[in-house]
Amino acid sequence: MFEVVAFYLFAFLTIAMFTVTVITKNALYALSSLAAGMIFISAFFFLLGAEFLGAVQIVVYTGAVMALYAFGMMFFDSINDVKESVANPRLTFIMTGIIALLVVAIFVAPIVGANITAQYPVGMAANLYGTIDGNAQDVGVVLFTKYLVPFEVAAVMLLVAMIGGIILAGKKMDISITQLSEQEIDNHKTDTEIAKDIK
């Protein structure tokens, strides 16, 4: 009973939050409602017995990704409303429905069609090592045996992404504006001006 109530409550909240994200014209509203939706999604993971995934969802999405967006937003003019022009909204809506249904059919078909047996059953760690049962332990056992290579590749990918982000966003950051005098700042051309000169 508790599970049913929690599922419907969080389903309603998540859908409402994400709808606000998609529909609102204000970038800050979109950011905050997206963060709220991420938190509500972690509730589903806790309901599904994937506690570790739920914790990772909160830490990575609401902690890291949303903070990154919030910092990135400082570069953009997020006070103004987002200007958008949609040629044919109804067509977009219908196409969205069709594509989403198609994707879900593709995704669900193999599961419905075949009787899949569990390769890595839940509670594996307890069976193997006779220790306390827990989702984090199960995840650890599978992640560091079968999925060790993808795990390492993901680590390298995150490193590459970090270096890429620093190099992309951090150009011209060797010049510290706070340490320059007014005169020197005026003499520095901004990137926009340089781009105009090239044109």
Partner: protein, 104 residues
């Protein structure tokens, strides 16, 4: 309904609805930052589906894939925001319509 509890189908339908919201945003939005938000919504919808299938089949592989999806989303945001900042410095807007330098 209440005596049966929540089934896999309920989770998959929820996942579909959230994915549709994200897809609608991705098709409708013209602002690149908003497109990124829509991408995050779609990734999260898939994560719910993965975790639900993992639970109802008693197999941890679904959760593993959800972890890797989260890792990929994090690196995508890092690179994507870097590119966005660069583009905004050049053009002073992040509108999708301004990205037409390859138009013939």
């Amino acid at each position: 309904m209440s005596d049966m509890g929540i089934t896999l189908n309920d989770y998959l339908i929820l996942s579909t609805i959230i994915f549709m919201i994200g897809m609608y945003g991705a098709l409708r939005r013209k602002n690149l930052l908003m497109l990124f938000f829509s991408t995050e919504i779609m990734l999260n919808a898939v994560n719910i589906g993965m975790a639900a299938i993992s639970k109802f089949h008693g197999d941890l592989t679904g959760q593993m894939f959800a972890f890797f999806i989260i890792a990929i989303a994090a690196s995508e945001v890092a690179i994507g925001l870097g590119l966005l900042v660069l583009w905004y410095k050049r053009n002073n807007n992040i509108n999708l319509d301004s990205l037409q330098s390859m138009k013939g």
